[in-house]
Symmetry: C2
Subunit: 171 residues, 2 copies
Amino acid sequence: MMNLENYIRDVEDFPKKGVLYKDITPLLKSHEATSNALDQFIDQLKGQKIDKVVGIESRGFLFGILLAQKLNVGFVPIRKPGKLPSETLKSTYDLEYGKDTIEIHKDAIETGEQILLHDDVLATGGTAAAACQLIEELGGELVQTNFLLEISALNGVEKIKQYPCVSLLKY
Amino acid sequence: MMNLENYIRDVEDFPKKGVLYKDITPLLKSHEATSNALDQFIDQLKGQKIDKVVGIESRGFLFGILLAQKLNVGFVPIRKPGKLPSETLKSTYDLEYGKDTIEIHKDAIETGEQILLHDDVLATGGTAAAACQLIEELGGELVQTNFLLEISALNGVEKIKQYPCVSLLKY
């Protein structure tokens, strides 16, 4: 199996002093690594039925739409406030400093649909937990959350522990 | 051939009064429509060799990465300022009110690589022209620009007329 870790670049002091940033652009630049990560995500679903894939703006759009196409299902974007033009549900959550909000179109999910939620990185889990809440408010059944990589020290899995969670890489 | 127009939703007065917004989320929500749009993009390349696909944040990430995977090549994101962690090239361009900046990683493209640029909408062409400039500064050869839809009245094609341009839908 390909070691995806070789395609993640460490960048020191980004976005601020003392932070070691995990850059996924080398992985995206490699067709083979992207394709391999996609296959690993599919394997981890273990054949469970998925009706829609939800991806979180903006890097969650990347493997989100790839997964949707691979699974032959539709893709639903969760976006930052004010970006989705039709009627939305919003969820506001706490950040280290301040708050943030995400939105989903109200007509994006039908009651009872089996949902896969994807984002590129699981850090504190605040965004992911807010996204799970939106999906459930729309009547979706969250089958799995998945992430390219997880910053384990931040313990984001705790915030979404009621759902099966897959991360291809853990730091 | 599937009429993709049926999957674009008109939203009045978004993002501001008097604007008729073209919402692509119904297309994304349909696996068949997404798949059909992808096939149309591939057809329009007419077999030309592509080494990398560049997609513009954030909706340009969607078909950008799908095209890259379909063509078996890497994907390169162009992002809003301050998002890319490693060394970047920047381009600043005029908006209706004020200015905007986009960035690309300096190591994203090798000299002489054949590049396909994708974004979801071609409006005034400001962002697309700035993206083309970044790609050429890195030594990339722009083979084609493509867009899901084009707002013809804004004449964005004029700003990128030195490159072949494909839009699946024109309004």
